[in-house]
Amino acid sequence: MKEGFRQAMAWLHTWTGLIFGWLLFAIFLTGTLAYFKGETSHWMQPEIPARPLNAEASLTLAQTYLQQHAAGASRWLIDLPDARDPGLGVRWQPAPARPGERGQFISKTLDAQTGAEVQARESMGGEFFYRFHFQLQMPYPWGRWLSTIAAMVMFVALITGIITHKKIFKDFFTFRPRKGQRSWLDGHNAVGVLVLPFHLMITYSSLVIFMSMVMPASILASYGNNVRAFYDEVFPAANVPEPAGQPATLAPLAPLLRSASEQWSGGHVGRISVNNPGDANASVVMSRAGSDRVVNDAGSAVTFNGVSGQIIGTPSQQPMAMAVAGSFYGLHMGHFAGPVLRWLYFICGLAGTAMIGTGLVIWLGKRQLKHAKTGVMPFELRLVEVLNIASMAGLVAAVAVFFWANRLLPVSLVGRDDWEVNAFFITWGLSVVHALFRPGRRAWVEQLSLGAALFVAVPLLNGLTSPYHLGVTVPEGDWVLAGFDLTCLGSGLFLAWAARKMQRAGHTVSVKKTAREKARPITLEQGAN
């Protein structure tokens, strides 16, 4: 390979990585946290009790509740509880005032065992991280576009990174710590190369997920302006039939669970939607739980006549192209992952986050060396430094504040869930201001220490403000809640270690009175949930 080509690729890698690095760091970190979306939501709404799973009993309770409270609705949606998220979710859409309109969904959470409405505190829970990682808290569709562009850049950075890295196999097992800039590069290469299958999969699949938004040409060519028709054909289960206007009793839903399961040779039902309940034209759509298969298949629903309970639509054979797209979707989301594999997903996500973080640190470290003698940093380097600190250490502290806000904000506060999110962004914003006014290394140490203190104290705060603390959850064997507390504790200890390492590195430099400030371990923060 010509050296000129490799240099060009290195240039591309350096600059695309820098410009999108901060955004990608945030996307990767929140996306990684989103692998524990259900668990995070459970911790943030602990009032919803975890019960032994019994799909049929829960479904009967949901049907009874909806028949009492939402008899005239045009549509019901029932989300069955699972091991990760214990709430029995019911939503309904009131019949529209005028035909063609779609009403706003009303959403309630029920106790999966008693069917009583649970008044959980208002909170977005893990859904916030999940939404943020592809919508970036921007109005539709701008956030999706920006995150998709970031994914494209990430893909470019991965490919150029592979080309730039000359000795992938020779240095496969190489990591040399305590060697300053060298160690950072080793670390960047190690997490990049060793976890490369995950990086490629996650980046490419994110482009596949939004393919109809990014490259709609084939859809537009076949369907013209009637894009709706395309989706109606792809997702036939989403079509809502017109109500007949004649009342009829809805069949009991629980027995239909078993028929649906037989259609999938033993698969599980995740969501049930009932169209026109109480009408002669009622239909029941049972969608398969994502935890059943790696390949996501939106068309694998079983449709029943809502009055007679007969099967009127069975899952169709998934076409090859859709199976490929579905497998990328499924791999990205990881709904199928059990606890062990989920943790591995989480670790891989952290490795990706670490790869981006080390890259940003290397960019700055290399350039700082040139200005070390004078001790004055040019504006652009200082800007990168401030953004590095705020986008990494600041973000991690903001995640911790988000959890704190969940426990500290009064339950009766209006717009409580919004205030949790506001707390996150206020903290993140303040971290930029803080980084601006403090010298680089001090700012790193202080923000990492703040994050460490906040995370370590999460189990304590939880114990003081809720009856769901470790003293209760561990003896009860509620490993979702206990695991959350313990993971926070672990992340806090890790951040404390990072802060200490950072401070010591700074200390030795000042003691030796060498102006040359090597980028000694600024150790990456990989905040976990």
């Binding site: 496969f172 097992f173 040399r176 190690a190 060793l194 497998s327």
Partner: protein, 108 residues
């Protein structure tokens, strides 16, 4: 998944030892050509075996995902362990190799 993990980890350790530089760092001397060949072959065989173990347990779709996950995890563990606790890294490889028949028997 455990069996695949044990096999993967020992496979990567063997492949690592097959490289003269790492062999010298870990064991104090350069390997002979025969030894290198042997280690390389053992490493690849173990990798293949771990793939078989993962797919055998859970079928192709789940098995392949599991295998990729343990592949990345075991390589990452080995590389992060090597500079700090080289003896432990080697001991763990030996132990995983010894434990893998037990794991295979227990999981069946």
């Amino acid at each position: 998944m455990l069996l695949a993990l044990l096999l993967c980890y020992s496979a990567f350790t063997a492949l690592c030892l097959a490289m003269p530089r790492h062999h010298e760092e870990l064991l104090g001397h350069k390997p002979s050509a025969r030894r290198r060949q042997g280690l390389k072959l053992a490493g690849w065989l173990l990798l293949g075996l771990s793939l078989w173990a993962a797919v055998f347990m859970k079928g192709w779709s789940f098995g392949l995902v599991d295998w990729c996950a343990v592949l990345m995890l075991s390589a990452l563990t080995l590389v992060l362990l090597l500079p700090y606790r080289p003896r432990l890294a080697l001991t763990m490889a030996g132990l995983s190799l010894l434990a893998s028949p037990v794991a295979a028997w227990a999981l069946n």
